[in-house]
Symmetry: C2
Subunit: 216 residues, 2 copies
DNA sequence: GTAACGCTGTGAATAATTTCACAGAATAAT
DNA sequence: ATTATTCTGTGAAATTATTCACAGCGTTAC
């Protein structure tokens, strides 16, 4: 069991757990590494290697217990106490995100939203209260929020990140197409849709071209 | 100049180009690898290594020409002819995406949307016509679409992917939290917000804990 | 019993990615 | 001119991530 677990492994564990949850709903009780691997789109060795890091062991004959493994990943990934999330920027994307996460994982839910638009402040959207920026330090403090989602325009992203971090947030999910400058002990995950779409366009084109050249 | 360029490098090149474009708007004409690196949040060696793959050379004394380098990345990344994109699923997320990409890069724009909801079909949203699923093969064919964005509910994602691929699409940007099963010559990029948020929550917590234990 | 099977857990090998470190080059200063 | 400076481009090294390959085990079949 390694001291630190890589970012990639954490991501895959999250995926495995979701797949296990679906299997459990479907009534499955056991599965082998190669089955989970096929569902997750990775190799069986990868699955077993990832599971080493949480210290869960399967049986050579039955494989893994769907319920136990799911719970084991949960104990590893989730906080023992519920983690509240703050969303900054209640625009088109922000509202879609609120709708998406509403009523999902209770361990990790959006508990407060922030926006500069006075029309949005004090409204309740998807069951979540929208506050003004001035209220952020107080709300983040009182709710014990450690995670922030940035869905503000690019120009406002760095400022919003600074305010969140000053208020006590330790991790950021950033949708603004701007690399954030934060202290090295703050974790930032960027979701850069423009970059992702350009990647898809590049490789789609490349594969199409390769296909044409396929003469062997 | 390597025969194939890694996915990660393609992603960073997309980012570099955006940063260069901003610099150009700000009137900058030259910059060094360490400056671009700092803006992109990577090392200078990484920038130089990435630029090797597109075969653009800078000057040891002036660094890189902002305009030339941007154009050079464009020639490498972009298709010589405009690439149209199809969006499937005009819900909360789909509409936010349409708003976001509307009027951005003309090389790579959403030219058609698809939805099963008869209320949405034949409407024009953000300048983009919404079609029924039955029209997909015909529209994808006539528009020469190679790239698809999936913003449909999880249960509909695999079916929508299959329909897109059958119609001729070679690359997919998938927002549904479901690993897609497609032919190996189809490129898929997943944006899994649940996984990303869980990663942030995990590392935010871990860093916070480390800070507490910081006794050295 | 015990032999055969097909899995897991994991050291070792391999592959991919990043960083180091420095020769070579363009310029500026003298 | 010559020297000093500070960068780029790139082999080589280091690091990180993935895959191979197999010993060992629980189960089943006979
Ligand atoms: N819409 C998308 O699908 C999409 C896709 C990729 C990236 N993004 C990025 O996500 C961000 C939000 O996009 P959007 O489409 O929701 O934009 P939007 O304009 O619809 O919403 C932005 C919201 O942020 C609020 N805001 C502005 N400044 C603020 C500040 N300083 N503090 C708090 N709130 C502030 C605005 O009042 C508005 O409600 C942008 O950075 C955009 O580039 C959006
Ligand atoms: N909203 C978010 O911020 C968010 C975040 C992460 C992931 N997602 C994922 O993105 C997807 C869409 O999310 P959403 O919030 O926009 O959902 P939504 O319910 O608002 O929209 C889904 C849209 O897809 C259409 N649709 C349903 N079946 C279809 C089919 N077979 N073909 C074409 N269109 C079909 C519906 O009519 C609807 O317009 C979901 O898979 C969701 O899990 C959304």
């Amino acid at each position: 069991m390694p001291a630190t677990v890589s970012e990639k492994t954490i991501g895959r564990l999250s995926l495995y757990r979701r797949l296990l949850y679906e299997l459990r709903s479907a009534g499955e009780e056991n599965l082998y590494s190669h089955q989970l691997a096929q569902m997750a789109g990775v190799t069986a060795a990868q699955v077993r290697r990832d599971l080493m890091s949480i210290g869960y062991s399967g049986s050579p004959t039955r494989g893994y217990d769907v319920r136990e493994l799911g719970e084991s990943i949960g104990r590893f990934l989730d906080s023992p106490i519920d983690q509240g999330v703050a969303l900054v920027g209640v625009g088109n994307l922000g509202r879609a995100i609120m709708a998406f996460f509403a009523g999902r994982r209770p361990h990790l839910r959006i508990v407060a939203a922030f926006d500069t638009d006075p029309y949005k402040v004090n409204r309740v959207i998807q069951g979540v209260r929208c506050y003004s920026l001035e209220q952020m330090p107080q709300v983040v403090e009182s709710e014990g929020i450690q995670v922030g989602i940035l869905a503000v325009p690019a120009v406002a992203a760095q400022g919003a990140a600074d305010t969140l971090v000053r208020a006590g947030v330790r991790g950021l999910l950033n949708f603004a197409p701007v690399p954030l400058r934060v202290a090295p002990d703050i974790y930032v995950e960027d979701i850069d849709m423009t970059m992702s779409l350009e990647k898809v366009a590049y490789f789609a084109r490349q594969r199409a071209t390769q296909k044409e050249l396929q003469t062997w």
